[in-house]
Structures are given as C-alpha cells and as structure tokens.
C-alpha cells in the first residue's frame, strides 16, 4: 500500500474530514428531496448506506475482471441491482415509508456518491478497505441527512420523529418543509462547516 493509512482512517475520513455531503457536496438530490422529516432522512440514509457498502464490496471483488472500457456501465448495473433489492425490502417493511420516499429510492442509482466511491476507491483497493470506506462514507451520509432532516422537522413541523417538541404557542416555519427550506438548511450547514474550517486557519474550499 502506498498510502500510509490504516483501516480506521479509511473509516473515519467519511464521517468528518471528507464528509460526502458537507465537504464534498456529492449526492445532493436525495439529500434535499427527502430530508423534510428526520424519519424519512434516516431511512433514505440507511438505504444508501446499504447500497454503498454492497456495491463497494462487489466492485472491489470484481476489480480485476472488469474491462476498463465498460467499467462505468458495469458499476451502474451492480448498483442498480442492489437498489432494486432495497426498494423491494422497504416496500415489504413499510408501505407508508415506501410511499413517502417514492421514486427517490430508485434514484439512489444515480447518486453520484456511490458511483464516485466505486470508481475512485473500490476499483483500486482491497476488499476490507473498500468495505470500511463504504461504511464510513455511508455513515457520514446518514449523519448529514439526519442533521438536515432534524433541523427541517423541528423548525417546519415543531416535532422530532413525529413527537411534538413545543407547546401550542410555536408557529411552524412552513417554508422549512417546502423545497426552498431544503436549500436554505443545507446552505446553513455548509456555512457552519466553512466557518469552522476558517477558524481553524484552513482555506475555505470553493
């Protein structure tokens, strides 16, 4: 191994230093679309985590057999297979959740985060590392989705996981559960991260 990184590093980097949403700004579409309640956000995050780990595993196992010219198409087919699995599993567990997430479960296929990890990491690294990378990135994604979903649900509906938090005097910020609220919340989190980075003396990433 050229890089002097340990397995733990591969796992931890996805959580904070290379967080897929806040730092790399990848996989935006599902992040914004289903983060209007904490529950939806968490479910979406876990579904993505599963697909990411499984596709990293398979891509890493097959990395020496896939011809270079058709690798992207192969990756997409592998990912699509697992997304189909997830879609049917969610439908079996909770029909209500399946309705709430709608077409966005299928759209995990085109989440650039998953294809990005397959291309940039799993196709070049051993099985163990790829699984750790997938777990770390996936958990970082779950974390980010949860941060967004929680903020939007608390401000937009005055509740968390469906439990009411405030007494009747609280006026819901309806805009937060509408599409524009998603953009604003994400912008707010990015600002926070930029500000933290700047305070530590680092350069602000474009």
């Amino acid at each position: 191994m050229k890089q002097p990184t340990t397995g733990t590093d591969e796992f931890v980097k996805g959580l904070w230093k290379e967080n897929p949403v806040f730092i790399q700004v990848l996989g935006m579409c599902p992040v914004l679309a289903v983060s209007n309640t904490a529950r939806n956000a968490l479910a979406m995050g876990l579904a993505t985590l599963f697909v990411l780990v499984m596709s990293n595993t398979v891509v890493s196992l097959l990395r020496n057999f896939i011809p270079k010219q058709v690798r992207i198409a192969t990756y997409i087919l592998i990912i699509a297979t697992f997304v189909t699995v997830v879609e049917y599993v969610i439908q079996a567990i909770s029909l209500e959740l399946h309705k709430a997430l709608g077409a966005f479960i299928s759209l995990i296929v085109v989440n650039c985060l998953i294809l990005g990890r397959a291309e940039a990491f799993a196709s070049k690294n051993t099985l163990g590392r790829s699984i750790l990378d997938g777990l770390g990135m996936g958990l970082g994604f779950v974390l980010a989705l949860f941060c967004l979903g929680a903020v939007r649900e608390v401000l937009g509906s005055g509740s968390l996981f469906g439990l009411s938090l405030f007494h009747d005097g609280f006026q819901n910020w309806v805009v937060m559960i509408l599409p524009s609220g998603g953009f604003f919340t994400l912008a707010g989190w990015l600002l926070l991260f930029n500000w933290l980075k700047q305070r530590r003396g680092g350069e602000v990433a474009g």
Binding site: C29, A33, N111, S180, V204, A205
Partner: protein, 193 residues
C-alpha cells in the same frame, strides 16, 4: 391522473413542479454548470433532447416489461437504456453536426448520471401517461430544467461582481440563491389544475 390535458401536463412539468426547484432532480449539473449563461443554455438544450429520446424509450420498455411480467427489471433496463441512448446521441451528433458536438463537449456524456432523466422515466411510468403525454411531459421537464439553469446562471454572473464574505462564497451561496428561486417558483402553484 391519466386524463390530464396536455397543456396541464406541460405547465406542471415546466413551472409548478419544476424538476430542479421542486423535485430536486439534477442538482449536480444545476450547481456545476450554472456559472456561465452560455454553457447553461447549451446544457439545457442537450438535457431536453436526451429527455425526449429516453422518455419514449422508457415508455416502450415499460410496455414490454409489463407484457413479459418482469417489473423488477424496470430500474436496471431504464438505466441501461439511458446510458446507451446518451452514447448513441453522442455518436449521432458527432456524425451529423461536428460543430454542435464540440459546443456540447463534456456535458453530453455527463447527462447519463443526471437524475432528472431517470426521474422523468420513473415519474411518467408511475403516473401512467400514454405516449403523447409522455412526450409532452418530457418536453415540459426539459424546458423547466433549462429555465432554472439559465435563471441561476444569470444570477451567478451578476454575483461575480458583488462583494461577499469569504465564508459564504461557493456552494453555500449557490444554494441560498437556489432556495430563493425555488420560493419564487412556488408562486406558480395556483396555475394548474
């Protein structure tokens, strides 16, 4: 839903449920290539074209898969068809009009991973549109995408000249703009049926 008039479908896809600003589809190119007005409009045109082609293909696939009773193959075949459509379109444009091919450049292959295309195929299947409705829906979605992209590019070109604090620069600013645009588009909500 199937007996929606064509005009309602078109208006719905273009303004009321704009793919970018209401469904959050195609955010990556929306943030990525919206820095310049010219590239934004070219990208919009390319996406609209691919949407039209892949929408009609998706309609045929759905009919075929329903006929052989294999709905679990839907997602895989959609994505495979979109990828090959983009490839075909690329080769076709290269052959017929090299000038246009050069103008579109890298954006053409990137359309494959644009979730707006796959989203369109899935939505039209869920809504059970017939062939003509599918085409109108695809056209509306494409034009809506172009409008959002061009508006955003216009705003960002103006912002280049403005003084903003370092912390806000970049993606955070773009997202705030997108939020404001999305709020503006909510004003269209009363238009359709």
């Amino acid at each position: 839903m199937t007996d929606d008039s064509l005009w309602t479908i078109f208006l719905n896809a273009t303004l009321i449920n704009n793919f970018v600003l209401a469904y959050f589809l195609g955010i990556c190119p929306f943030l990525g290539v919206s820095a310049k007005l010219e590239t934004a409009s070219r990208m919009g045109a390319a996406v609209t074209f691919v949407m039209l082609v892949s929408s009609s293909c998706a309609y045929a696939i759905h009919k075929l898969l329903t006929a052989i009773d294999a709905p679990y193959l839907q997602l895989i075949s959609f994505i495979a068809v979109i990828a090959s459509t983009v490839q075909l379109v690329e080769m076709f444009i290269k052959k017929v009009s090299p000038a246009l091919f050069r103008a579109l450049g890298i954006f053409l292959p990137l359309i494959t991973t644009n979730c707006a295309i796959l989203g369109l195929a899935l939505f039209q299947t869920n809504k059970g549109y017939n062939f003509v409705q599918c085409i109108v829906y695809a056209l509306g979605a494409g034009i809506g995408f172009t409008i959002a992209l061009v508006l955003m590019a216009g705003l960002r070109e103006k912002l280049e000249l403005a003084q903003v604090p370092d912390v806000v620069r970049g993606t955070a600013l773009a997202l705030m703009l997108a939020g404001l645009l999305s709020m503006a588009f909510m004003g269209f909500a009363g238009l359709g049926g």
